[in-house]
Symmetry: C2
Subunit: 363 residues, 2 copies
Amino acid sequence: MAKLTGKVLIAQGGGPTAVINQSLVGAVLESRKFPEVTRVYGAMYGVKGIVNEDFLDLSQETTHNLEQVGNCPSSALLSTRDKPDDAYCREIFRVCQAHDVRYFFYIGGNDSSDTVKIVNDNAEAAGYDMRCIHIPKTIDNDLVVNDHTPGYGSAARFVAQAFMGINLDNRALPGVFIGVVMGRNAGFLTAAASLGKKYPDDGPHFVYVPERPFSEEQFLGDVKAAVDRFGRCVVAVSEGVVDKEGKPVMVSLTGGKDKDAHGNVQLSGTGALGDMLGELVKNKLKIKRVRSDTLGYLQRSYLGVVSDVDQHEAREVGEKAAQFAIWHDVDGSITIQRTGNYSVDYKIVRLEEIAAKTRTMPA
Amino acid sequence: MAKLTGKVLIAQGGGPTAVINQSLVGAVLESRKFPEVTRVYGAMYGVKGIVNEDFLDLSQETTHNLEQVGNCPSSALLSTRDKPDDAYCREIFRVCQAHDVRYFFYIGGNDSSDTVKIVNDNAEAAGYDMRCIHIPKTIDNDLVVNDHTPGYGSAARFVAQAFMGINLDNRALPGVFIGVVMGRNAGFLTAAASLGKKYPDDGPHFVYVPERPFSEEQFLGDVKAAVDRFGRCVVAVSEGVVDKEGKPVMVSLTGGKDKDAHGNVQLSGTGALGDMLGELVKNKLKIKRVRSDTLGYLQRSYLGVVSDVDQHEAREVGEKAAQFAIWHDVDGSITIQRTGNYSVDYKIVRLEEIAAKTRTMPA
């Protein structure tokens, strides 16, 4: 089979994770093994660095240096929230053609997989032969087809350990604790708050996810029931909880002023949701000691509680991207599929199966 | 030298830390070695459990079980914010006398050391022979005489690692990040945000502590300078920052409604300070991507990033309490004094040297 000879271009998009650099390093090191690969470029700031021709030549980086990068949280090539439209994609192209890029690997979530798909569609339409691979990452665990996604395991571990400590803290100084967890559309990460529960009276006593409409009455009733029973209450709430009209509770609160290029409302980086729920409990239930913490950016960037399995799976999806593109000459999205307890296999699926789709938690 | 024979009573007060149970276990195991000790009681909910005679007989706990408790964050005997007045102390007494308690160990911060002092004064006034020892703990590191306090090391490590990750996250998706750190009067914990800085452009770029008056103008000027220079800015702010009149910025914000029995205003468990500073940056500097996270209770209860040195020092101050009280027949507060780089020694000082005093950071 004739193989494409040319450059590899890698970029990272969307929110960072604790293991996203493992995927980068996996893809770079694996790509460098192939004689078809003339150079491995990293684009700075995601797709923005492509159109600006802001490249780093990763062919020259030492393996040791790359390994150190792999162990760091957050996106080493930096990131972007830009969502390329067709004009943007034509520009990505012209740059790829000019640099003889034949393999484009983009590490990101469902927004990024959509970007890869648009670039790939444009490449095909223009008759330019280029393999485009989406490498999954997201702490939200919301990519369809995948059993789970790289980045989720470490974030889930952070959240689980956080609530284990918070449960003990709340036990020592009883009251109501409201912990707000990241998760725009899917409650997987918030559900992880329960992973460390050991005894029947351990918190979190209630978990609120975006998949179920949030009602103030039910919330207050739940809190009251736990306080009556245990003398205290710990709840975990997704930042993306919605009311029964499907409107995010945060949007009604902030007026939804801050949106990124994807039309996403700012849910993180503010304590507003937790504070509002805390005030509600104080005022309606007349409970004195009410605390709310928003776990915030630590969930995706905390250094030091990375999951080993997550780390090596992130590495492997990066390696697989290079293998599928260069060996097998196909486009697509790398997925993690579970084959046993516990074992996984990596399969490539067509981009349209992943792009811009959101997986939510099954009931 | 005649030694007092009777029971040991141990309690934990104030906010939990990640290593406070090491001090408990150290004091219990060491006490059980002395033939003068007839029983080791743990009071539930701090001093509240003493007046309620809510005791746990720790003489019967297995060593293995105690060791497991030692490794858990938060106060295993639960805690209280009660501050005993003289009437409360006379009540503590009657209970101690009734149970033949001759050794009272109270693990806590400066509020708790004050409690120990009042109990001890009352014991002396009543002619009741009882040794009272304050065992230090506080993530704020604000006990006078001490080089540092058990609980601080682990909290500082949590904060340092948090800001290392946040710095990388902010580097990938540039903007302004405001991290609010615990610390009512002392900025030691907030200062720890800088411990992981490696390169000149690493955040936090500015650290605001309660020891220096906080001015909005200076804050905005600092943020602008960092954004102009680095294209981004990470700041660490103590929850207890005060304006030039000495009024906590949080008090002017919330009206200072929630106070505990010590007259302390609620500073933690709300994102209000961070959100207010974030709004300020958005509105005054017209910067779009502004995020604030309040590190919250994770700082004192997070499971999994405990400092080894902190853990064994916490254990040792507990052991020393038993040794000073039972062997040496003295009252006082155990202190950590530095003797080298890195070595420490434990000395007992008179309670009035510690009680209700706050150490702040030297300039």
